[in-house]
C-alpha cells in the first residue's frame, strides 16, 4: 500500500503536468524522423509518389454520361516495395449500394410529406462502371473493388524508383445537381434546353502512399475530401461541337478549336489589365440555339497537378485578363452563362486576378499558367487551376448585397484553394481544417485588400464567439477526422481561420506570423504536409512557444472567457517626513461610456493596406457602395485615437503613482493573452498587452498590479475584439449595462 502511495505521489506532478494547459505537445505529435524533421520541414529522406495520366474522355450530351479510358503511369519513389496499388473510385459514393446511404442519420421528422418519403427511395444509378483494367503492355492484371477503392494486385512487386503503367476504361451516369447534390454534375436550363457540366472526380485516381498513412485508402463517405499525388496530365475531351470546354491546364489545340477572332481576343487578353471577352454574351446566346450533332475534341496538358476537372456547355460566355505575379504572366479566366450576369462579367475574372496576387504575397507565388472560375448556380468547389463557383442574380438581373458578397467570397475562397490543398497538398480525407481553415484565413486577408472593411464572415475573432460559446456536446476539437466533425463549417473553416488571426494579431504579431506562415507554405509547396509539420514550422520560424495555443485551440473545445473580477486601488502616502506608506483607497465607481468597438484587424489595416482594390478600381463599387462608404467614414469617429501603450519604466521621481491590482478569472478555460484598456482621469486611454504566459502557474485566476500617473476611471478587457472572448459583459470595470439591440435600433430609428 505504502509503495503504491509513494508511486502515486511520485507520478502526481507528471500526471498533473500532463494535463496542464501549457504542457508541450509530445504524445499528440508524431516523432520527428528522416521524412519529416523536428523543425517542421521535409526530412532529408522525404519522398512522394508520382502519378501521370493520359486520358481520352467523351461527354455524351444526349444521355448525360461520361465514357473514358486512361493510362496511369505510377512511379514508386518510396523506400518500400509495393505489392498492390490503390485507386480511388469517388463516383461510387453515388452507386446504388453506397455506404453513404446507410450511414446517413435520419429521423421521420425530417420527412415532411409522403412525397418526400417516396423520393427517399428514388435511386440514381451512379458510380463507375469499370469496363477493363489491364497493364499497358497488354498483360492481364487482377483487381478488386472495395466500395470507393480499387486494389490492383500487381503480378510482381513494384520496386523502389520504378514505374508501372496500366489502363482503365469506364463510364458513368452524370448526376443532376438539383436532384443529387454533389461537387460534380450538370445543371439543365429548361428555357433554352441546354446543359452546363462541371465535371470532377470523373476518372479513377491514384491514392497517396506515404510515410504517414501508408496507402491513404480511407473510404470516401462524402465529407472528407481528396488526398492525391502530383503528376502530369494529358487529357482529350470530346464534346458536342457547339460546346466550349475549360479545364485544368492549358489548351493544346486552340488553333483547331477556336475561331480566328477568338484566338486574337485570347492573345490580347493575355496582356490585358481588364477582362476581355473571348466569347461575348451575344455569341454565347447564338451558340445556345445551335444543337449540332458533330463532335469536337479539346486537348489539355497540365504539369505537376494533383487532379484534373473540366466544364463544358454551349452557354459559356468567356472572358480573360493577364495577371502579373512577381514577373510571371498568368491568364485569369471566367466561364459563365448569361444567367450569371451582371455579377459575373463585372467581377469574376477581377476576383480571380486579385486572389492570385494577394495569396502569392502571403503564401507562395502562383506557379500555374492559368486560373479559371466557372459559374454554377449555388455551390463552390475547387480543383487545380479551375473552380466552380456559385452566385446567381435574380432572373431580372437584380441582386441583394448579401448575394454579391457571397459570390465574391466564394470565388476568392475557391481560387484560393489552388494554394491549399492543390499545391500545399495536405491530406483532406483526414484533416479538413488544413486546407479549409488555412484557406479561409488567407481568404479573409484577400477580402480585406479587395474592399476597405469588407464584411468578412470569417476570420475576425469576434465572428467565432457564438460557435465557441455553444453547447460543448455539439462542438468537436479542430483536430477531428473530417467525417466525425460536428458543425463542419464553424469547426473546419471558421475556427482555424480565427485561430490564425488571433496568432497573427495578438499572440505572435504580424511580422513573425507572416514570416513563419510563408516558411510553412514554401517548405510544403508541391508536398504533403501534416498538422505537426504546420505546428512545428510556425514555432520553429518564430521562436514562439505555441504548444499551449495548439493545445487549446486545436485539441480542445474550450473557449476564451476572461473576466475582470476585482479591482483594488492603492496610493502612496507620506507620514512623518519622508516615510511613505501604501494605503488602499476606496474607489468611486462611475459607469464608463464606451464607444462602438473596432476590431484590431480593422484598425491595423487602415495603416497597413494603403489602397484596397476598390479604391484603385472604382468600377468595382456598385449601387451598394454608398453603404460601405458611410460605414467606413464612421470608423474613425468610433476609434479611440488617444490610445497609447502603457509604460511603467519612465516614471520620474516626482510623478504621482496610482496602483491598481486587477484580478482576472479564466472562465472559458482557453488560456489567452489579456488585453486591457485603462481609462484615465485625464481623458487619455492606455493599452496594456499581457502575453498568455501569465496563466502559466495558475490557469484559473491571476492578479497583476499596474502603476499609473493618473487615477483610472475604468478598465476594459479585449477592447479590440481580438481574443474571441465569448462574454464581454464581464470584461468591464466598473460593471455596466450593455444596451440591447432592440434599444439601439429604436434609438437610431428616432
Amino acid at each position: 500500500m505504502k509503495t503504491k502511495l509513494l508511486l502515486l505521489l511520485t507520478l502526481l506532478p507528471t500526471l498533473l503536468f500532463g494535463q496542464h494547459k501549457f504542457a508541450q505537445l509530445k504524445e499528440e505529435l508524431a516523432t520527428p524522423n528522416v521524412y519529416r524533421n523536428a523543425a517542421g520541414a521535409p526530412g532529408h529522406e522525404y519522398y512522394q509518389q508520382k502519378a501521370d495520366y493520359k486520358i481520352n474522355v467523351s461527354l455524351n450530351d444526349s444521355d448525360q454520361t461520361i465514357h473514358g479510358e486512361e493510362t496511369i503511369t505510377y512511379t514508386n519513389n518510396s523506400p518500400d516495395q509495393l505489392t498492390y496499388l490503390w485507386v480511388q473510385l469517388d463516383q461510387n459514393r453515388k452507386s446504388l449500394d453506397s455506404d453513404s446511404k446507410l450511414i446517413n442519420v435520419e429521423k421521420m421528422e425530417n420527412f415532411k410529406s409522403v412525397n418526400q418519403l417516396e423520393l427517399k427511395s428514388l435511386n440514381f444509378d451512379g458510380g463507375f462502371k469499370i469496363k477493363e483494367v489491364r497493364l499497358s503492355n497488354g498483360e492481364d492484371i487482377s483487381y478488386f473493388i472495395n466500395k470507393t477503392m480499387l486494389r490492383i494486385n500487381l503480378n510482381e512487386p513494384l520496386k523502389t524508383n520504378s514505374s508501372i503503367s496500366f489502363n482503365i476504361s469506364w463510364w458513368y451516369n452524370i448526376n443532376d445537381r438539383d436532384i443529387l447534390n454533389a461537387r460534380s454534375g450538370f445543371e439543365y436550363f429548361p428555357k433554352d434546353k441546354n446543359y452546363l457540366y462541371t465535371i470532377a472526380q470523373w476518372f479513377p485516381r491514384m491514392c497517396v502512399y506515404n510515410d504517414v498513412e501508408g496507402w491513404q485508402n480511407k473510404q470516401f463517405l462524402g465529407r472528407g475530401e481528396f488526398t492525391l499525388p502530383f503528376g502530369d496530365y494529358e487529357v482529350n475531351i470530346t464534346v458536342p461541337s457547339g460546346h466550349v470546354v475549360t479545364a485544368t491546364g492549358e489548351l493544346q489545340n486552340q488553333k483547331e478549336i477556336l475561331t480566328k477572332v477568338q484566338l486574337e481576343r485570347l492573345e490580347k487578353a493575355r496582356n490585358a489589365s481588364e477582362p476581355i471577352f473571348i466569347i461575348t454574351p451575344e455569341e454565347a446566346l447564338k451558340s445556345e440555339k445551335l444543337k449540332t450533332k458533330a463532335l469536337k475534341t479539346w486537348s489539355f496538358k497540365a504539369e505537376n497537378v494533383r487532379d484534373f476537372a473540366f466544364a463544358s456547355s454551349r452557354k459559356f460566355i468567356w472572358d480573360a485578363q493577364g495577371v502579373d505575379v512577381n514577373g510571371k504572366n498568368i491568364l485569369a479566366m471566367s466561364f459563365y452563362p448569361k444567367e450569371g450576369n451582371p455579377l459575373w462579367e463585372r467581377y469574376s475574372t477581377k476576383l480571380v486576378a486579385h486572389t492570385l496576387k494577394v495569396y502569392s504575397k502571403y503564401t507562395i507565388d502562383y506557379p500555374y499558367p492559368v486560373a479559371i472560375s466557372v459559374h454554377t448556380k449555388w455551390m463552390g468547389m475547387e480543383y487545380p487551376m479551375i473552380c466552380f463557383n456559385g452566385g446567381r442574380p435574380n432572373d431580372d438581373g437584380t441582386y441583394s448585397e448579401q448575394k454579391k458578397y457571397s459570390m465574391w467570397g466564394v470565388i476568392i475562397h475557391e481560387v484560393g484553394h489552388n494554394f491549399f490543398p492543390m499545391i500545399i497538398n495536405s491530406d483532406e480525407r483526414q484533416w479538413t481544417w488544413m486546407d479549409e481553415g488555412l484557406n479561409t484565413f488567407v481568404q479573409y486577408l484577400t477580402e480585406q485588400e479587395w474592399e476597405r472593411n469588407y464584411p468578412s464572415k470569417r476570420g475576425p475573432a469576434n465572428k467565432i464567439v457564438n460557435y465557441m460559446s455553444g453547447d460543448k456536446n455539439n462542438i468537436s476539437p479542430i483536430m477531428t477526422n473530417s467525417e466525425s466533425i460536428l458543425q463542419f463549417g464553424n469547426n473546419s473553416y471558421g475556427k482555424p481561420a480565427t485561430a490564425l488571426n488571433v496568432l497573427r494579431e495578438t499572440v505572435m504579431g504580424r511580422e513573425l506570423f507572416d514570416y513563419s506562415f510563408k516558411v510553412y507554405c514554401e517548405r510544403w509547396k508541391f508536398k504533403h504536409p501534416t498538422p505537426a509539420d504546420f505546428f512545428r514550422t510556425m514555432e520553429d520560424a518564430s521562436s514562439v512557444d505555441l504548444d499551449w495555443f495548439w493545445r487549446g485551440w486545436f485539441y480542445s473545445t474550450d473557449n476564451v472567457d476572461v473576466a475582470l473580477t476585482n479591482v483594488r486601488h492603492f496610493i502612496t502616502d507620506s507620514i512623518s517626513g519622508n516615510k511613505k506608506v501604501i494605503i488602499e483607497e476606496k474607489i468611486n465607481e462611475i459607469e464608463l461610456e464606451l464607444k462602438q468597438p473596432i476590431t484590431i484587424g480593422t484598425l491595423r489595416n487602415l495603416e497597413s493596406i494603403s489602397t484596397t482594390l476598390n479604391e484603385k478600381d472604382t468600377s468595382i463599387n456598385d449601387h451598394y457602395g454608398w453603404k460601405r462608404k458611410k460605414f467606413n467614414d464612421s470608423i474613425l469617429e468610433f476609434a479611440y485615437n488617444k490610445d497609447i501603450n502603457h509604460v511603467e519604466h519612465d516614471f520620474q521621481p516626482n510623478d504621482n503613482r496610482y496602483y491598481y491590482e486587477l484580478t482576472f478569472n479564466n472562465i472559458g478555460g482557453l488560456v489567452s493573452p489579456v488585453i486591457i484598456r485603462a481609462f484615465l482621469e485625464n481623458g487619455t486611454t492606455e493599452i496594456i498587452r499581457i502575453p498568455a504566459e501569465i496563466w502559466l502557474k495558475n490557469d484559473k485566476e491571476v492578479s497583476k498590479v499596474f502603476v499609473f500617473k493618473y487615477k483610472v476611471k475604468g478598465f476594459q478587457l479585449d477592447p479590440f475584439l481580438e481574443t474571441a472572448d465569448t462574454n464581454m459583459s464581464n470584461n468591464v470595470w466598473p460593471a455596466r449595462k450593455t444596451p440591447s439591440r432592440y434599444k439601439l435600433f429604436m434609438k437610431n430609428k428616432k
Partner: protein, 182 residues
C-alpha cells in the same frame, strides 16, 4: 470545398415537384452540401423593459435562412431593403419567425408585435419585436425552435439581458423550450 452551401435551397424552380426534389436533395443520402452547411444558428436577445414591463426581443438570422423563405414566397432580400415592407411580406415574415419563437406563461401566450428590421453588414438580419401585453410574472417559458424542422443540426441561442449580466440559453431539437427567470 464549397463555401456557399449556405445558399441551402434555390428558388429557380417553382413547381411543387421541383421544390420537393430540391428539399429532398438536402436530406438525401447523396447530400454533401447539407452536411457542409456552415451555419446552423439563430439568435435571440431579450430584455424586460422595467418601465413598460414589456419584453423586447431581437431575433437574429443569417440572410441565407431568410433568402430561402423569401424565395419560396416569391420575394427576394431586396424587398427587405425597402423602407416600408409590403403587407403580405410583413405578415408572412411575422408568422414564419414567430412560429419558431414563442413566449408563454402556463397557458397564457404573449403575442409579439413586429417593430422593425435591420439588414446588417455582416450578412445577418435583425428583427425587432415587443410583447403586446405587460409581463407581470417572474418567469416565462420560451420556445425557440426556429428552423429546427428544416435542419437537423439547427441550434438556437437566447441571450437574456438581466441588469448587468447576460444569461445564455441554448435551444436544441432535444430541448426546444426553457423557463427563464425574469
Amino acid at each position: 470545398m464549397n463555401l456557399i452551401c449556405y445558399f441551402r435551397v434555390v428558388s429557380f424552380y417553382n413547381s411543387d415537384f421541383m421544390k420537393l426534389l430540391i428539399i429532398i436533395s438536402f436530406l438525401s443520402i447523396f447530400s454533401l452540401k447539407s452536411n457542409a452547411h456552415d451555419y446552423y444558428f439563430a439568435f435571440a436577445e431579450m430584455e424586460l423593459n422595467k418601465e413598460s414591463q414589456k419584453l423586447e426581443v431581437t431575433l437574429i438570422l443569417n440572410s441565407h435562412d431568410i433568402s430561402h423563405w423569401l424565395e419560396n414566397k416569391n420575394f427576394t432580400l431586396l424587398d427587405l431593403e425597402e423602407p416600408t415592407l409590403e403587407k403580405n411580406l410583413k405578415e408572412g415574415l411575422n408568422n414564419f419567425l414567430l412560429s419558431g419563437f414563442k413566449i408563454s406563461h402556463k397557458s397564457e401566450h404573449y403575442k409579439l408585435i413586429f417593430k422593425g428590421i435591420l439588414l446588417k453588414d455582416d450578412g445577418n438580419i435583425e428583427f425587432y419585436f415587443e410583447s403586446q401585453k405587460k409581463v407581470e410574472q417572474d418567469e416565462v417559458n420560451i420556445t425557440f425552435d426556429l428552423l429546427m424542422n428544416q435542419y437537423n443540426q439547427q441550434q438556437n441561442k437566447l441571450i437574456y439581458l438581466k441588469e448587468l449580466k447576460k444569461e445564455t440559453y441554448e435551444f436544441l431539437s432535444s430541448k426546444k423550450s426553457q423557463i427563464i427567470k425574469l
